[in-house]
């Protein structure tokens, strides 16, 4: 299985190279996208095979100068191959159906390389190979973010993304360095032998949080994500949000649960839980305020990554407190949500891409009423949005139910400070889930319901063929994955053993349970109950009510009738994106996102209009654009003074640096 996967990665890389000549041919792009879709299916098959067959290891015949590159397929990497493969297969199919004619090589070549990099990261069994894959993923996705570089905001997004990717990669290199210590061997098998303790463990964790956390989009390092994800082509945005963040979370899980050993204390989980809660709330709140469909979805990704991080942090804490069953519960919630989010976010990004294709806009204020013109897209997107809003019996509810159950059991860790923190995080997670529901209603309702807000939206057209399937398949998966979470947890059982040493509390193939004798959730029974209740309502109404409906004009609350050149009524007389977000902007935005809302009234008697000025600013972005450059300039000014040093001082500086390095080496060798 591992050999086949390694071959697949090699073929993807070769496909990236072959895309350069292929891009000249009219059908070249279709070939590449079709091959990528098939490769996605291969990754899924490899993941399932890896979960069923058990671990495998192999050494590649090449590698860094000091030894061969190693690959391994263990249950943890196998599980993460599933979201990657599903996301890639759907996105590849969508691109296959949506592309006609030639595509610029700069858009085509990095695409298979991007996927090969992600797969290599998952399969790596030593630090070098992992970093190689991680950096290939970063660079290839940067090229895709910058593909439309004629527009200034895309250049800006690509620049910020590259900066974050560079510093993130540096943090991961340092994490491996601190983990390996003086010996310098970064093979996972060797690293596992000597798990870090105390300060060293803390340093590794903070570095991994900075490196992998920034790639996953954990606050406060999430700033690049809502800029970069929307700038890429839609199928790439889907994989970046659906799969790339998951690969970063895999690196986080690989360090926290595997390489750092099982004997980590409770508080190792605390930073992850806190950052996860912050990301969940900020991401969900921003998703309610953004006015661009793809930016909105990227913000919702930050929220879901935060929820997964909470689950992982809880699993670390439970494991440290020697509560293996609860650790497996929290880890199971994280793994399940990883898969579910990959599916519904891929679907939502592809739907947003199809809307962009059909109605030529990403702005919510330029869309509307698309359910009439694009029914397939509308219903598929509704399924995904409702799964993202965590409505039973769809997939998002199952994993968020598990996460809430894990949070509700967090008080079993005896430390009172942890208990209070966990209670607050419980409230924040529930707040994030409800905010996500509001954001999804806003997104779907403004895009697909109501009246068209522009002539373009009124004349939108839907693609046929493969694009429909690329939307229908993940929509079906949102339902199916929601109905059989017990089966999925059984499948994830080997991965849970790698993470926390035990399997999750079993509740049968059709149910998930909090603990022995605790609360249970049977999605199939709930779906049947809901269907029966709706059926009852339909039956009663059918029996008593007359069939059919009459149609008439909507009551427009007494507005003056729109002029005849507005065939769909006055666009301003229906809710706008800013208007729909106004309650939450006032309730929560002023505190968390320094949102502002100011009405400037004209002087009494003046005929000028009143002006409403509203907006918000992410504090992390404000820091990035305000305080950070100021500090950089100050540091640069300090460094400038070194030029004026005398020769004696210069030599002293170099000599001091050498002594310091030697002392550091001696200290690390002594430990």
């Amino acid at each position: 299985m591992l050999t086949a996967l390694a071959l697949l990665v090699g073929l993807l890389a070769a496909l990236g190279v072959a895309a350069l000549p292929l891009a000249r041919f009219p059908s070249g792009a279709r070939t590449v996208h079709g091959a990528v879709a098939v490769a996605g299916l291969g990754l899924v098959a490899g993941g399932i095979g890896g979960l069923l067959n058990g671990p495998a290891v192999m050494e590649l015949p090449f590698g860094p100068p000091w030894g061969p590159a190693r690959l391994a397929l263990d249950p943890l990497s196998s599980w993460f191959l599933l979201p990657l493969g599903l996301s890639v297969a759907c996105a590849g199919l969508y691109a296959f159906g949506g592309v006609h004619g030639r595509v610029a090589p700069r858009e085509l070549v990095p695409w298979p390389l991007f996927i090969a990099g992600m797969a290599l990261t998952l399969l790596a069994a030593d630090g070098f190979t992992l970093l190689l894959g991680f950096e290939a993923m970063s660079l290839a996705s940067w090229a895709l973010v910058a593909h439309d570089h004629a527009r200034a905001e895309n250049r800006e997004a690509a620049r910020i993304y590259l900066g974050f990717a560079g510093y993130g990669g540096l943090a991961l290199v340092l994490a491996f360095g601190v983990l390996a210590g003086g010996a310098g061997d970064v093979a996972f098998a060797v690293l596992r032998e000597a798990p870090p303790e105390g300060l060293r463990a803390l340093a590794v964790m903070l570095l991994v949080l900075a490196g992998a956390g920034s790639k996953a989009g954990l606050a406060p390092l999430h700033v690049w994500l809502p800029l970069a994800h929307p700038a890429a082509p839609s199928h790439v945005s889907a994989v970046m949000s659906g799969a790339m963040t998951k690969v970063a979370l895999y690196v986080l899980a690989r360090f926290l649960f595997d390489l750092m050993g099982p004997a980590q204390p409770i508080w190792m989980g605390a930073p992850l839980i806190a950052l996860g809660a912050a990301s969940a709330v900020i991401g969900a709140l921003r998703a309610n305020l953004e006015e661009d469909s793809k930016v909105l979805l990227a913000c919702s990704t930050i929220e879901n990554v935060g929820l997964i991080a909470i689950g992982m942090g809880l699993a670390v804490a439970f494991r440290g407190a020697d509560l293996p069953a609860l650790a497996a519960l929290a880890a199971g919630a994280a793994l399940l949500h990883t898969l579910n989010h990959a599916v519904f976010k891929t679907l939502l990004f592809l739907a947003a891409g199809e809307v962009l294709h059909g109605a030529l806009s990403r702005q919510l204020d330029r869309l509307g009423g698309l359910i009439h013109r694009m029914p397939w897209t509308a219903w598929a997107a509704l399924t995904g949005a409702m799964a993202a809003a965590a409505l039973p019996p769809l997939s998002g509810f199952a994993s968020e139910w598990l996460l809430l159950q894990a949070l509700l059991a967090a008080w079993r860790i005896g430390d009172i400070a942890f208990q209070m923190g966990a209670a607050a995080v419980t409230a924040l997670a529930a707040l994030a889930a409800a905010l996500a529901a509001a954001a999804m209603v806003r997104f779907w309702g403004l895009v697909f319901l109501g009246r068209p807000r522009t002539p373009r939206a009124a004349g939108a057209e839907e693609s046929g063929g493969a694009v429909r399937w690329a939307l229908a398949v993940p929509a079906g998966l949102c339902v199916v994955l929601g109905l059989v979470p017990g089966l999925l947890l059984d499948l994830a059982e080997p991965a849970l053993r790698v993470m926390v040493g035990t399997s999750a509390p079993r509740a049968g193939w059709d149910a998930i349970g909090a603990a022995e004798g605790g609360a249970r959730y049977w999605p199939l029974a709930v779906a049947l109950l809901l269907a029966a209740a709706v059926g009852l309502a339909v039956w009663v109404v059918r029996r008593r009510a007359p069939a059919g409906v009459m149609r008439g004009p909507a009551w427009d609350c007494g507005f003056i009738a729109a002029p005849p050149h507005f065939p769909f009524g006055d666009p301003a007389a229906q809710p706008s994106a800013a208007g729909f977000g106004q309650p939450l902007r006032r309730m929560l935005g002023q505190g968390l996102l320094s949102a502002r809302e100011r009405v400037t009234m004209p002087a009494p008697g003046a005929t000028s209009p009143a002006v409403l000025d509203s907006g918000f600013r992410d504090p992390a972005l404000a820091f990035l654009e305000g305080a950070l450059p100021r500090w950089r300039d100050a540091a640069a000014a300090r460094a400038e003074r070194l030029r004026d040093l005398s020769i004696r001082q210069c030599l002293g500086l170099a000599f001091g640096a050498v002594v310091l390095m030697l002392a550091l080496l001696a200290w690390m060798g002594a430990r």
Partner: protein
């Protein structure tokens, strides 16, 4: 035999809530009218309204989509499904293992989302306004509900409503400050979820701060009947939930013979009647608050719920 009894109890429970939902709304309206010195409509008036609305053919806007047609059925179905899970006169009904508090919240969210989407379907300003406010209030009510559930889950060891009712019924817990705080939090959530005063006014269509009524402004005929019925079912569900968790006295224990059910039924009627009286008195005595005061109202509920949980941590830490 126990299986047969549990199925029978479940069937009786469903029949009971189906019939009681419009009646409860009628009783609350009548009580409010009496407290305000009016004679008030007949108790059966909501039921008569429903039957009358069912006979009328709905008028839909020209650009209404399938959402307007499907959403009322989904909302009514979700409300009935959720109410079928909340124990009323007996514990150990057939659906008892399903009756998870978070699942009930999820089913209520299904109804809420269906209503918000129906409000946005036609693209009128009022519908969108109501939908935005409803989803925003829910965003604040949900954490308060989950934090109250945290106190219950710590005391009962589970979020299953049947098991919570059972462990509180057996009286092993006694009176606790935390439970009182959780009760206050849940009451606030119940008021917000049911769009009652002071959060929203259930008896008016023409008020600028309306939330619930704004979303169904376009509904008519059988669709309006279903929306109204869903709202009535939600009110019954919340009162029933409060009664099951905080006033478990008289509830027939699991696996008990039918003669206990009569006692349970009488106790349930008394409890729901008492809660309805309390609701009517509260609504008559208090004024509706500004929309942007609602976050403070729900935020206070959230803080009280958190305080209850923290008190539990402190007390178990000392014991």
């Amino acid at each position: 035999m126990a299986v047969v009894w549990s199925i029978l109890a479940q069937a009786l429970h469903i029949a009971l809530i189906l019939a009681a939902a419009p009646l409860l709304t009628g009783v609350v309206r009548w009580m409010k009218a009496r407290m305000m010195g009016r004679r008030g409509p007949h108790v059966l008036q909501p039921l008569r309204d429903l039957l009358k609305l069912l006979r009328k053919r709905p008028v839909l806007a020209e650009n209404a989509s399938a959402i307007s047609l499907a959403a009322p059925y989904l909302a009514a179905g979700a409300a009935v499904a959720a109410a079928a899970l909340v124990p009323s006169f007996a514990r150990g009904m057939a659906f008892a293992p399903l009756a998870d508090l978070i699942l009930v919240a999820g089913l209520l969210a299904v109804g809420r989302v269906a209503m918000a989407l129906a409000g946005m379907d036609v693209g009128t300003p009022f519908g969108g306004l109501g939908a935005a406010r409803e989803m925003s209030f829910a965003a604040l009510a949900e954490p308060a509900l989950v934090v109250a559930a945290l106190s219950l889950a710590i005391l009962a060891g589970t979020t299953n409503l049947d098991a919570i009712a059972g462990s509180f019924r057996d009286g092993a817990l006694g009176l606790r400050v935390s439970l009182g705080l959780a009760l206050v939090a849940l009451l606030a959530v119940a008021i917000a979820e049911n769009a009652r005063i002071p959060v929203d006014n259930p008896s008016t269509h023409l008020e600028l701060t309306m939330v619930h009524e704004a979303m169904i402004l376009e509904a008519s005929g059988r669709h309006l009947a279903l929306w109204d019925y869903a709202a009535q079912m939600r009110l019954l569900l919340w009162l029933s939930l409060l009664a099951a968790v905080f006033l478990p006295l008289g509830q027939a224990p699991a696996g008990s013979a039918p003669h206990w059910w009569v006692v349970g039924l009488a106790a349930w009627l008394v409890k729901i009647g008492g809660l309805a009286l309390g609701l009517a008195a509260f609504e008559s005595a208090i004024a509706k608050m500004r929309v942007f005061r609602v976050p403070e109202f729900l935020g206070a509920a959230l803080l009280l719920g958190l305080l209850g949980a923290v008190l539990l941590f402190v007390s178990t830490g000392l014991a």
